[in-house]
């Protein structure tokens, strides 16, 4: 099988953790590295979480420390969803490894080495990718595409207009959306269209081991973590973005022109999707709008049950 080489740029994070589990268990992927970025929690916390998760899974994939602070704005984190540690109530053994430094070089060098085949899956704020683009404007010639978990056409989550990953670094998102790299936007329109109920989480595994217990723990922590107004589901935003690469029929959407609002006082960090092509501007992102629910549940079960073995 020809494997897709991916870099997972992430800020684990509960849903990031599920994405990491799925990425490292999918034979379709050659995971070149996990690059961390401050987002759901501070860089130190999310990097520690990434190392812990990789060690629990037993993977030797490189973990690379990325950006600690957004390009311009003050830092915001999402402790209200992901807890103080970034993995809510999950406690994992201290990591034995330490993370590599210099994410910008790592991203650029990996892309160049793979001669245009690299797919970046960016499920945190887009700070690292923006850094790499700003320092290596030719990055766009070396990256096949970037799948982004972020944004939303119809609504936000951290504010009514903005989704957290974009809101946490709107200026970085602007750099990425204007970069000319092929983008797939997996936003709240799809990631909040479906999720796992508590019952579904509890019936996910038929036999347990350390890894399945960790997965179940994370998913149970996620049920209800979004707070009032949401369905009591585990919304696995980041994993849905990753899985768009695994299943052609999981998400559907269309090419759109997308701007990032960085000046608004009530829409700061909004992905402004020109759904009706009002402005006739070049389409810079494939924006996903619909989830194939049957495929979604089947895919999640299949991918996570790989850890029963």
């Amino acid at each position: 099988m020809l494997k897709t080489p991916i870099l997972l740029d992430c800020d684990p994070g509960l849903d990031d953790a599920i994405a990491i589990f799925i990425a490292l268990a999918s034979p379709e992927f050659d995971v070149k590295g996990l690059v961390t970025v401050a987002g759901n929690q501070t860089l130190e916390k999310v990097t520690r979480n990434a190392l812990q998760l990789v060690e629990v899974i037993g993977s030797d994939v490189p973990v690379v420390r990325g950006a600690a602070l957004p390009l311009v704005r003050e830092q915001v984190t999402a402790g209200y969803v992901h807890g103080e540690s970034g993995l809510k109530t999950l406690v994992l053994p201290d990591p034995k490894r330490i993370a590599q430094n210099n994410a910008i070089h790592f991203i650029y060098d990996t892309a160049v080495e793979l001669k245009g085949e690299l797919v970046i899956v960016a499920v945190g704020p887009l700070t690292n990718i923006a850094h790499a683009i700003l320092i290596h404007p030719d990055l766009k010639n070396h990256v096949k595409k970037i799948v982004i978990m972020g944004g939303g056409h119809h609504n936000g989550n951290i504010t009514p207009a903005a989704e957290f990953n974009i809101f946490a670094d709107p200026e970085a998102a602007k750099v990425v959306f204007e970069s000319g790299i092929d983008l797939v936007m997996v936003g709240l329109d799809v990631t909040m269209a479906d999720g796992l109920s508590k019952d579904e989480v509890l019936s996910l595994f038929t036999k347990h081991n350390e890894k399945t217990q960790i997965i179940e723990h994370i998913l149970l922590d996620m049920v209800n973590s979004e707070g009032p107004g949401y369905k009591p589901w585990a919304y696995i935003h980041d994993a849905m973005a990753l899985m768009v690469l695994l299943y052609d029929d999981l998400l559907s959407g269309r090419l759109c022109h997308v701007d990032i609002e960085t000046k608004g006082d009530r829409t700061y960090g909004k992905t402004v999707v020109d759904y009706y092509d009002t402005h006739k501007l070049p389409k810079n992102a494939f924006v996903t709008f619909e989830v194939n629910r049957e495929r979604f549940h089947q895919a999640i079960q299949e991918r996570l049950r790989a850890y029963e073995q």
């Binding site: 009514p160 009032p228 701007d259 990032i260 009530r266 402004v272 759904y275």
Partner: protein, 307 residues
């Protein structure tokens, strides 16, 4: 009867909304105030007078501001033509215009009304916003404001803004933060309030002078929307009127809504807090869907009213 002030910028759909409102015996229309929007103030004022005269109706009518509170006026000739009401040729009107600004008429009506007044605003919110800023004491005698404007699904004039809000976002900000209950008939519902060719023919078949005018207005409005790829003509402004007459044919949800006035790409967007992130009290009933057939039946019923 519900005491009503209609603030509008006719405009094809405004003209039809006006005719619907004046045909209904549920409304006591105390005044019609005019704003620039679909065309310049002079044109929209003239259009409102012509439509009312042609339909044999009179009302106190006053002109408002000729430009938005802070911005220059943007008009929509591509939708409504150079006159703002291209299509039927209507005779000049001798309907007098009140020698006062629209907001003075609004104040007089609110001050004198024994029961709280309902405002229907189907254009940019310049007059209503100016009124509420200059005479905030009148708020207590305003029951609600039913507007055509805004959208949760993306805009029609920019990717995120609907025309009426975009033209005067500062006025819209004043209105939405006024504390007065708002009914928002935005693109979410008005894009479902489509009038099809067969509906136009049904109106034309009534065969009276007002029905023929309405059919001709719809012919022109349809032509533009078909050229834009619509299957019918979204009768935006009529939704604000229809909701007040028949709320049961609409589906809506109460949300906290605010207006972006500073955005690079988002100015004039109605920001709807669907997940109650701000824990603020809902200020707006956002209309989301309607029974299209019942809406068309209501329109036909009301048009039938005219000789």
């Amino acid at each position: 009867m519900i005491p009503i002030i209609m603030d509008c910028d006719p405009g094809h759909d405004d003209a039809i909304a006006l005719l619907m409102a004046f045909a209904s015996d549920a409304f006591d229309i105390k005044g019609v105030t005019i704003t620039g929007g679909n065309q310049t103030l002079a044109k929209t004022l003239n259009n409102a007078r012509k439509v009312l005269s042609f339909a044999g109706k009179t009302a106190r009518i006053a002109a408002g501001s000729d430009k938005p509170i802070l911005r220059e006026l943007e008009v929509a000739p591509q939708v409504h033509g150079e006159t703002g009401l291209d299509g039927p040729v209507l005779p000049e009107s001798d309907l007098p215009v009140e020698p006062m600004h629209a907001i003075e008429l609004m104040k007089e009506i609110c001050d004198q009304s024994p029961e709280p007044v309902t405002l229907i605003a189907t254009g940019p919110l310049t007059n209503v916003g100016t009124f509420l800023t200059i005479y905030p004491e009148c708020k207590v005698n305003i029951k609600q404001i039913a507007i055509m404007g805004g959208s949760m699904i993306g805009g029609n004039w920019t990717s995120s803004a609907e025309f009426n809000i975009l033209v005067d976002p500062e006025a819209a900000d004043i209105v939405f933060s006024s504390g007065i209950p708002i009914i928002m008939a935005g693109l979410d519902v008005t894009h479902k309030a489509l009038i099809y060719e067969e509906d136009v023919e049904r109106i034309r078949a009534i065969g009276k002078k007002v029905s023929t005018m309405v059919a001709e207005l719809l012919d022109f409005f349809m032509k533009f929307h078909k050229s834009m790829g619509y299957h019918g003509a979204p009768l935006h402004d009529a939704c604000a009127v229809a909701y007040l007459l028949k709320p049961e044919i609409f589906i809506g949800h109460d949300y906290y809504v605010e207006i972006e006035t500073k955005g690079e790409f988002t100015t004039g967007s109605t920001v709807v807090d669907q997940f109650n992130r701000y824990k603020k009290k809902a200020n707006t009933k956002v209309l989301l869907d309607l029974d299209r057939q019942a809406f068309v039946d209501l329109l036909v019923d009301l048009v039938n009213h005219y000789a």
